[in-house]
Point group: C2
Chain length 222, copies 2
């Protein structure tokens, strides 16, 4: 019990260290030896603390290479517990409703705040997405990446962490896209991108709203 | 390795079972013996799978009483990894911006969809919150509970799971409330409640917007 508490405290101190040093995704933590000295804890306690941070998606341990801040940045797997929800069709409707509320305003904020490198990143994702769509290949993951990249243009960290969670939640829905709808989906993503690229916030918001309402109708109404 | 995979698969099957049987928070799972038979796995594998579900906040094990679906319903602790964010002041601003986007429309949906028992529950939370505020006691937890209860009035499961996450994130902010602002905060929560109770969606939205914009200004602008 005492030992577990020590490992938990060590995990908290490691989190505080990551925060204080402003480590970002992919940054390497000090070696095990250095961490043991800096935190004045033994190897077993440190390893237990690191395992806890791994389970929280905060760090990844690469055998022989060291410990790194996870690209997941502490966002849990299925963070909101959607996997437990009994009525998955209602969940999909609820997710679409949440997206209709959130994402148009995110698109507006993205158009306003996007910097040159954000726009380049967004265009890269769009081009990959368009290629997949034209080939009628599975594109749900890239669709989610596009909406996440839009959220990242806002420079609001809450949006950037939240959007992948609610966009991934409707992934099964995106898989059921019908052939005839590819063209519309292609066009709306391109229009959203163009509005953000040219910093037209009002149009970005309207295009995102249209895109999501189209999806919502397609899924069978509100 | 093989064994871990079996425990993981068992955890997934347990999750599917919870989903399929539509178990809710506080519902009791079958006994260890029953689960071993139903899933045809050994005790060690089952226990490892259950520990995994505990770590994901999906179930709780009460010694001697059994295994129950967690009140947290699979929502992870710090699900979006806010604890790792270096600039906590910016994070608070980002959280407030997200709430200004989301919650007014949630209030409107709450006014539209709230049923009698939702309104009773919301009023209970409000009365507790008002008592705390009048006594100038720490009320951040009840403030978060009020906004969560509003989200539950929508009957949208995504909102109900998401709002506590972003409302709790600004808890430290709520702790710094100044005396002069208690009255305004008291009044706005009461007005939000009254609008929801009488199903006036437009007013509920406006009152929530005013309340959150007031907080945003107070924290130092957008």
């Amino acid at each position: 019990m005492e030992k577990q508490t020590l490992a938990e405290r060590t995990a908290e101190r490691l989190t505080a260290m990551i925060r204080a040093r402003n480590y970002g995704p992919g940054d390497r933590l000090p070696t095990e030896q250095e961490l043991m000295e800096q935190l004045t804890v033994g190897r077993n306690t440190l390893r237990e603390a690191l395992r806890f941070l791994v389970s929280r998606n905060m760090v990844v341990i690469r055998q022989g290479a060291g410990t790194f801040v996870s690209e997941k940045q502490g966002v849990a797997d299925d963070p909101l517990g959607f996997g437990m929800v009994g009525d998955q069709r209602k969940l999909t409707r609820d997710l679409l409703a949440a997206r209709v509320i959130l994402e148009p305003q995110i698109a507006a904020l993205a158009a306003q705040n996007a910097e040159e490198e954000d726009i380049q990143r967004l265009e890269e994702v769009l081009l990959q997405l368009e290629t997949r769509m034209r080939r009628r290949e599975w594109y749900a993951e890239l669709d989610s990446a596009f909406h996440t990249a839009v959220a990242e243009c806002t420079h609001n960290q809450v949006m950037a962490r939240l959007i992948p969670v609610i966009a991934d939640g409707v992934r099964s829905f995106a898989e059921s896209v019908e052939q005839a709808e590819y063209e519309e989906t292609l066009r709306s993503h391109r229009r959203i991108f163009e509005a953000i690229r040219t910093h037209r916030a009002v149009e970005a918001q309207a295009e995102m709203q249209y895109h999501l309402l189209f999806n919502q109708k397609r899924y069978g109404g509100l």
